[in-house]
Symmetry: C2
Subunit: 231 residues, 2 copies
């Protein structure tokens, strides 16, 4: 799905202090997430069988670092200390990566693809209901995500070559999503402003949380199925 | 020391097949080394206490990836398959990184600084005695190395804050160099063309291997001493 905004709904305003704090938290979460995506993609690419493949992943990773810089700069424009805001969101993100450390190249590919795809879906959904400036940034980052789709073909070919891999990778996909939901819950529980942002009237009138999770989940199931995996 | 060439000596020529093969091996070794330097710097930066420090290391690492690309392109210009050439040099380089996996931020800083400095010294020495085109590339990369010197102050401050760290870090410095010498020996033993290049008349007339090792070692000792460490 493309990264588009819905022009029919009124936008919330950064003049609302509660909304603004929620946006700051959201930018901090995304900026920290993009930095870790860069770091872990580079590390986990070391499983790749050839240097050429490692280099392709590194190039995608450097794109994530570019997103990190954009989000960080926006926090500075809002008068925030990016370090301080991001530091609050590092623990759950680091926990997710620690709980989903791949043990081989295929797990590393599936993680990169699943993580990037869920992030793209989330950026698109949340971007559509933010104030215009924040939305423009979030959708700019979103439009550059999805580069891991080149990895799909390699995973599919590996499963066709040895169908026994499908069971293990299906479990792996479930673990990636399960751990993501678990850390997302802890983020929501520990960060009232972010939870309030998502539950706020201006946002909640457009995003039903249950429906959002259903959409993210069904997109994940469709992707796993396209890989030849039961989700 | 600056990266300069010695204009007084005649240059070897790529028309000499044995010299050319040695240059191909050298470029493959350096290109693979720069890729791994990128990957490991990014991974090992995760020990940094703040995201700001991680980001600074990542920026230096991306510079190493730029060097990798330059060296790789040169291999292509020479009609070689960079993947194939680099793959021959990955095992000793990966062994060095595996044997020198830091266990904390200070070890990670010392490794980055020592590794970068020895690489800079080696590039400068070897660059001075190669054919002009290869020398220009090697010295271009060399001139961009040495960015890890910003890390020195942090290590020195950490040792002053707790002098007990000095003993452990001095041992660490010795291990970094010892493992590097050990892997360098295995590279020389397994790659005749590279050994021949360094031992060849045109190169050997200008570089005495024993003196080269002495210079690299004494530069290392001086750097460790500047950090407040016995080498």
């Amino acid at each position: 799905m493309p990264c588009v905004t819905d022009a029919e709904h009124p936008r919330p305003s950064l003049d609302d202090p509660a909304y603004r704090q929620g946006v700051v938290d959201l930018l901090g979460l995304l900026a920290a997430g993009e930095y870790l995506a860069f770091e872990r993609l580079v590390s986990e690419a070391s499983f790749a069988p050839t240097l050429g493949q490692r280099l392709r992943i590194a190039t995608i990773a450097i794109g994530e670092l570019g997103h990190h810089r954009l989000l960080r700069e926006r926090l500075e424009v809002l008068g925030e200390d990016p370090e301080e805001v991001m530091a609050r969101f590092l623990p759950p993100l680091e926990r997710w990566h620690a709980m989903t450390a791949p043990s081989d190249w295929l797990e590393s590919l599936v993680k990169a693809y699943v993580g990037d795809s869920i992030a793209t879906d989330f950026y698109r959904e949340i971007g559509a209901v933010l104030d215009e400036e924040t939305a423009a940034l979030v959708l700019e980052v979103c439009s550059e995500l999805g580069q891991t789709s080149v990895m799909v073909e390699e995973v599919r070919a590996a499963i066709q070559a040895d169908p026994r891999r499908a069971g293990r990778l299906a479990l792996w996909g479930r673990r990636l999503v399960g751990e993501a939901l678990s850390q997302a819950q802890s983020v929501a529980a520990e960060h009232d402003a972010l939870a309030d942002l998502i539950m706020s009237e201006s946002v909640a009138s457009q995003i039903d949380l249950v429906e959002l999770l259903e959409r993210l989940t069904s997109a994940h199931v469709a992707r796993m199925s396209a890989l030849g995996l039961d989700a």
